[in-house]
Symmetry: C2
Subunit: 140 residues, 2 copies
């Protein structure tokens, strides 16, 4: 139920100790409802009707959600940030799949990017961004 998600989102926002605002709750709610990484635009579209919030506010809310660890910010090759709600036991250390036809981004939980890649001597590992590209099941 949509109400369930909103309650869940509200609770998560409350736990941060910061203010519980409609923008934050609704945005997180939208992200929790998705099973994939969505763009700023997609989020905006899904918010229509629930509440009208400024472009800038959405950017700031997403930044805040990211800082608080409630959401995961993903870089892509089209210069567009994508966001995904951090479901429990779903850390940053995983790869993503981007369909070259429908451009949808999903998580590849089977691949662990925390694995220590072979680096040249003297290099220090911090993390990795892996995006596998191809066609998803619907577009193949």
């Amino acid at each position: 139920m949509a109400t369930d998600l909103q309650e869940h989102a509200k609770e998560l926002v409350r736990r941060t100790g910061d203010r519980v605002t409609p923008s934050r709750v609704q945005t997180l709610s939208v992200l929790l409802a998705e099973q994939r990484a969505v763009t700023h635009h997609e989020i905006e579209a899904r918010l229509q009707g629930n509440l009208q919030l400024d472009r800038v506010t959405l950017y700031r809310v997403l930044e805040w959600l990211s800082e608080k660890g409630l959401v995961h910010k993903i870089a892509s090759d089209d210069r567009v940030w994508r966001f995904r709600a951090n479901v429990e036991a779903h850390t940053h250390q995983h790869a993503h799949f981007k369909c070259t036809r429908c451009t949808k981004v999903t998580c590849l939980d089977g691949i662990d990017t925390a694995h220590h890649w072979p680096l040249p001597a003297g290099y220090h590992f911090q993390g990795a961004e892996l995006t596998v590209k191809g066609l998803c099941a619907e577009c193949a």
Copy 2:
């Protein structure tokens, strides 16, 4: 010698069958001289003195070099494209390392991204972009 590089660049451009213009030769020349992936701005800076070319032209030249396979276009998390000359036996199928301090990007030839990652059923692999992040030898 710089002249050697320019001759090499000229030859590579000629082989494509398209026009051999100063913009193309000089730009490729700059990229051949680098051992790493450089941004549009870095290329512009290195061209100063040799020839003054328009921002747009540089974008178009880079796009062309990329189409012709002479150069490799790399996405990063700062929404800036980076380019690297395709040295022989240096295919697209490898990973990159980005230093989180000096932001320089180098190639990790030890990692082969052509490897077929475990994808969900029905998914079709086309390629992968892997960027490992951390500190390089100089910054560590």
